[in-house]
Symmetry: C2
Subunit: 267 residues, 2 copies
């Protein structure tokens, strides 16, 4: 006997190293979405199309990716996350699951996302970090990078910091908060905003890194941003340092939630 259809919000983590990105590809290589859908099918017996909040690229990690899907399973919504673990590979892990309004969409209901990017300074690349942080041989001025990041805060046309290749999107986004902090040999860059264009976070990091390395000053960041010209900005840094931390939604999306989690609350 089936239950009425429910809409589920599932939070997951993954190591992006061995995935060709989040999004399922036809007859394609291993993706996070395909592994999650296979696990759901094994758990519930239903073919379950899913939607992801952020379509992370190959090599990009997630600590708080959000996936939504509809199901008629009789497993209580809050238990789906732990029940699913048995069927997932060890590079994907579930965090929690709740029932949400029928019109909730992991992708389209998202109000903000937070990304982190890790760099490390060292005389030579460190093998155990090669898939998890970007090696930077030179000295980095963390405070200069933090200052450069603040220029990006607010509502701007971010055309200069997006790559081609994604579906056309409104290039106007709002960055609510940025930060750059040092811990030992690591520098962590955090960017929290309304939404991000294709490779925008990796282009932001590649651009403020020019300032951190003393090659450019913070005025240059403003010029790049105002130019709308991608060729003026810095390089797209590698995917291995990038982590999707959190996706925020309006609290009202989750009225059916059995409990309110930090990961589902908007700032």
């Amino acid at each position: 006997m089936e239950s009425p259809e429910k809409n589920i919000k599932l939070v997951i983590q993954y190591d992006g190293t061995l995935f060709h990105g989040f999004q399922k590809q036809k007859d394609g290589p291993r993706t996070v979405q395909e592994e999650v859908e296979k696990a759901l099918e094994r758990l519930t017996g239903e073919t379950t199309p899913t939607e992801g909040a952020g379509r992370t690229d190959a090599g990009v990690h997630a600590l708080g990716q959000v996936v939504s899907f509809k199901t008629t399973t009789r497993i209580p919504p809050v238990k789906i996350a732990s029940a699913l673990r048995v069927y997932l590979p060890e590079d994907i892990q579930t965090v929690d699951s709740i029932e949400v309004d029928g019109d909730f969409s992991a992708r389209f209901s998202a109000r903000a996302k937070e990304y982190g990017y890790y760099l490390y300074q060292s005389a030579a690349p460190v093998p155990v970090l090669r898939n998890y942080a970007l090696f930077v041989p030179g000295e980095i001025d963390c405070a200069a990078m933090a200052e450069a990041l603040t220029i990006l805060e607010g509502e701007h046309d971010f055309s200069a910091l997006k790559n081609e290749g994604s579906s056309p999107a409104n290039p106007v986004k709002t960055i609510y908060r940025t930060g750059a902090s040092r811990k030992g040999c690591f520098i962590k860059i955090v960017v929290y905003g309304s939404g991000f264009l294709y490779k925008m976070v990796r282009n932001i990091v590649g651009t403020v890194l020019e300032v951190g390395l003393g090659k450019r000053d913070t005025r240059w960041i403003r010029e790049v941003l105002e130019s709308g010209d991608r060729t003026l900005a810095g390089r797209t840094v590698g995917p291995q340092g990038l982590y999707l931390y959190r996706v925020d939604y309006e609290k009202s999306c989750c009225v059916k939630a059995n409990r309110v989690k930090e990961s589902s609350g908007s700032e």
Copy 2:
């Protein structure tokens, strides 16, 4: 024209995840030693047998493994490390190289080794950490674990903390220093000693973890140690949290060194 034969001490780092341990195996799977010897052959044109200070197991990492070998290459000894990088896979990295006395042996001249082991506490396993630290679901009492570790300091017969499988060795070793410290969700255990028996560090961690989890008290550690009985000790924890930090030698071994590095100095 060949140079006279020189004895070289090379310090390397590696990510053990994709290796079946350090030691070369006949017609066997991928090992660190084989990759280093292949790279040396490509660099120098010579078949170059090597010796490693510690024969780390599959999945164990190294930040300061030492390898020694003899070569007639005309590349200056201190430049071998950087020249070799081109021929090494990205999960092995060289740190430095120096010329040492002809009778120096990475394995038999070693006076002390330092290992680190990382645990992390979390509600569920974290995918990006799965190959680099041990997931522990419960609360860990770090101070209790540090106290348990001090009981192992000094000269003891460590038969209770070694696994079978290695060549017979004198089970009497000296542990000079231990430590357990917390940083965020991580706990780092450090053990510095004259030498280590087969799987001894992983057995030490599995045993003091029983104390850290409140299942045993520190007196039990003394009983285990004095019993000489492996079956009384804790489990062998996984290889993924283990890092060979450093191997120390008598300074006199390295009289030919062009420079004295921290990694080659004895404590």
